[in-house]
């Protein structure tokens, strides 16, 4: 099965299906079931937002399971300032942006080489890349940690004297881990592009780099957009690598730092809920703005048979 259609597939073709509707079913049972499940689905996050909107004084007075008291955004302001969110969000940005650029650059180069040029180790390398992405990260965590620790670096580069406790270490680990998946997806996408495209360019005397950069890459824009969206969410949501590789609390990205919120906001559940809700906001923005790309990215990897 080709992956190219998956990107263009419009979501639920509601409009087109109505007129032909040979069976105008009502689906009452389905709606009842889906509504019940949907309400249950919203409860955990809804409870967090509800708790976050109430001042601690009110929940102490009326209890958490009550409607009494006022609602305000004070907890969000307080959590933002006390929880060190500006620092953590900056760290997330410092880690996420270079990772995405490196992953897409390396993965697209690799995908181009294995899908558009025929040579001996094509499939072997592609298998190696795909398998690497499927490993649980804990399998290689210990040696990677030790390698980074034993690598001597000048102090102007890293105050730990090694790769540990640097943004670079997290960027490197994430890049290595995500390249495999993106190479797999992009190579499928590039394979579906007509061979005539690069044949024609070859006749015109275009070198490999121009074929890659000027011909194939522009055609891969839908796949690149989908993968970029997906990878932003993946990297932003990555909890493990910073946990392993970064020791200073002030260098942690948001997702790993929320672990510390439980200690910072000890027993003040209103602030903890506000902090948790704040960390949802960036993914929620991506969700609202780029949901189509995100879903396309998720399904891109799976539609290859």
């Amino acid at each position: 099965m080709s992956i190219a259609p998956a990107v263009k597939t419009p979501r639920t073709p509601l409009a087109g299906s109505r007129p032909s509707g040979s069976r105008p079913q009502r689906h009452y049972g389905t709606h009842i079931f889906l509504t019940v499940v949907a309400v249950m689905w919203m409860i955990p996050l809804g409870w967090a937002v509800f708790t976050a909107l109430r001042p601690k004084a009110d929940t102490d007075k009326f209890g958490y399971f009550s409607l009494g008291g006022t609602f305000s955004l004070d907890n969000f302001v307080q959590a933002w300032n006390q929880g060190g969110f500006p620092r953590y969000f900056t760290n997330s940005l410092i880690i996420t942006v270079p990772t995405i650029i490196l992953v897409l650059l390396f993965a697209s180069m690799m995908a181009f080489a294995v899908s558009r040029v025929s040579w001996k180790f094509n499939v072997t390398l592609l298998i190696m890349f795909t398998a690497g992405n499927l490993l649980p990260p804990q399998v290689l965590a210990t040696p990677l940690f030790e390698m980074f620790k034993l690598l001597q670096l000048p102090y102007w580069f890293s105050d730990s004297g090694s790769l540990l406790n640097t943004y670079v270490s997290v960027i490197a680990a994430n890049t290595a881990f995500q390249i495999g998946f993106c190479t797999f997806v992009l190579s499928n996408y590039m394979k579906a592009l007509s061979a005539d495209l690069t044949e024609a360019a070859l006749v015109d005397g275009a070198g490999i780099w121009r074929q890659y950069w000027s011909i194939i890459m522009p055609l891969c824009r839908p796949a690149l957009a989908a993968l970029a969206t997906l990878e932003v969410v993946f990297i932003y949501n990555d909890y493990f690598w910073p946990l392993l590789l970064i020791q200073s609390g002030d260098r942690l990205p948001v997702t790993t730092a929320i672990n510390n919120l439980q200690g910072t906001f000890l027993s003040n559940y209103n602030l903890l809920a506000a902090g948790a809700t704040i960390t949802v906001i960036p993914t929620l923005v991506i969700y609202l703005a780029l949901q189509r790309h995100f879903v396309a990215g998720l399904t891109l990897g799976s539609s290859k048979g």
Binding site: M1, T9, R11, T12, L14, T30, H31, F33, L34, W41, M42, I43, P44, W47, A48, T51, Y64, F106, M109, M110, A113, S118, V123, L125, M128, T130, G132, L134, L135, P136, Q138, V139, L140, T142, E146, M147, K149, A172, A176, F177, G180, A195, L202, G207, I208, N237, D238, Y239, T255, I258, A276, V280, T283, L284, Y287, V295, L298, T299, S302, S303
Partner: protein, 305 residues
């Protein structure tokens, strides 16, 4: 499906500069993948047969199979961890994945508001597993969590600390993981269902098959590529179920998992790189099973061609 003839011609036409460019395009990503993923994985295997405190390389001593002897015979956490990993897999495979499939099938029948339902079920997929842990922590708390209020046990001696009580916390954590996994499965199956040829369903209906028969005998088998991906994702997610338990209590007290044991032996007090690596190798061996199956399915056809 590009013909083999032009491929052969293309290779011969590569000029020397093109070969250099191609070498860099393949070499850099491959080097990253080897150094940061595959060499550490091999080192995990080597370290699992050694005794090391992790200080300097000269401290490494051969240990034979002593680490594995300890893991299988004396480690108090190993067998509970294996059980929990299996339980996690069973829960995702028997409850979360079928729930996701059910939601996809219901939402695929062009019912009104399908998009709204989809969006609701999809929100948890955007969240990190670490954040899922925090959000459910607020829901599960002993004295102020919503669940105990709903059960009427909050503030009474019967109140359950869902994440703290070692007899129930694995179940509570799996429910939280289901919240995210089911939405993921739903999205993949929604894409898969759209790919099923509508004439197949019509033919089955003409033959007198009811909706359930049509689904299980015709539609579900036709989604074979997606089914394989879902099986692999479910197995790998259950091996990777690290973030949730680590946020809750670092994978102790009823929440032991193999992946968490690796990290405990790396960063914990009784640090032993050898034993941690033995856990990592066991995790590697188990995860190679689904990875091999998946790669065989995906690349089997190409390898032969």
């Amino acid at each position: 499906m590009s013909a083999t003839l032009p491929k052969a011609r293309r290779v011969r036409r590569l000029s020397t500069p093109d070969k250099v460019v191609l070498g860099v395009m393949v070499g850099v990503p491959t080097l990253i993948q080897l150094v940061l993923v595959w060499i550490p994985t091999l080192l995990s295997i080597l370290l699992s047969f050694s005794r090391w405190n992790g200080l300097t390389l000269s401290d490494i001593r051969p240990a034979g199979t002593a680490n594995y002897d300890f893991v299988f015979k004396d480690s108090p956490a190993f067998w509970p961890a294996v059980q929990h990993n299996l339980l996690w897999l069973g829960f995702l495979a028997l409850i979360a994945t079928p729930l996701g499939l059910l939601l996809a099938v219901l939402l695929d029948q062009q019912i009104r508001g399908s998009k709204i339902y989809q969006s609701i079920f999809f929100v948890p997929v955007m969240l990190s597993l670490a954040l899922v842990g925090i959000i459910w922590q607020l829901f599960y708390q002993k004295d102020n969590g919503l669940l105990n209020f709903l059960l009427g046990t909050a503030g009474t001696p019967q109140a359950v600390d869902w994440f703290g009580d070692s007899s129930v916390n694995i179940w509570a954590a799996m429910v939280a993981a289901t919240w995210r996994h089911a939405g993921y499965v739903m999205i993949l199956y929604l894409a898969g269902l759209k790919g099923v040829d509508a004439s197949l369903k019509e033919a089955a209906a003409l033959d007198g098959a009811n909706a359930v028969q049509t689904f299980f005998r015709v539609v579900f088998p036709a989604m074979r590529p997606v089914n394989i991906v879902i099986v692999v994702i479910t197995i790998i997610e259950s091996l990777r179920a690290f973030d949730v338990v680590y946020v809750i209590n670092k994978g102790t007290n009823g929440l032991e998992l193999i992946s968490a044991l690796v990290i405990q032996y790396l960063v914990g007090e009784g640090q032993s790189i050898g034993i941690g690596s033995a856990f990592a190798v066991i995790l590697l061996v188990i995860s190679l099973v689904p990875i091999t199956v998946y790669l065989g399915r995906t690349f089997g056809k190409e390898g032969k061609a």
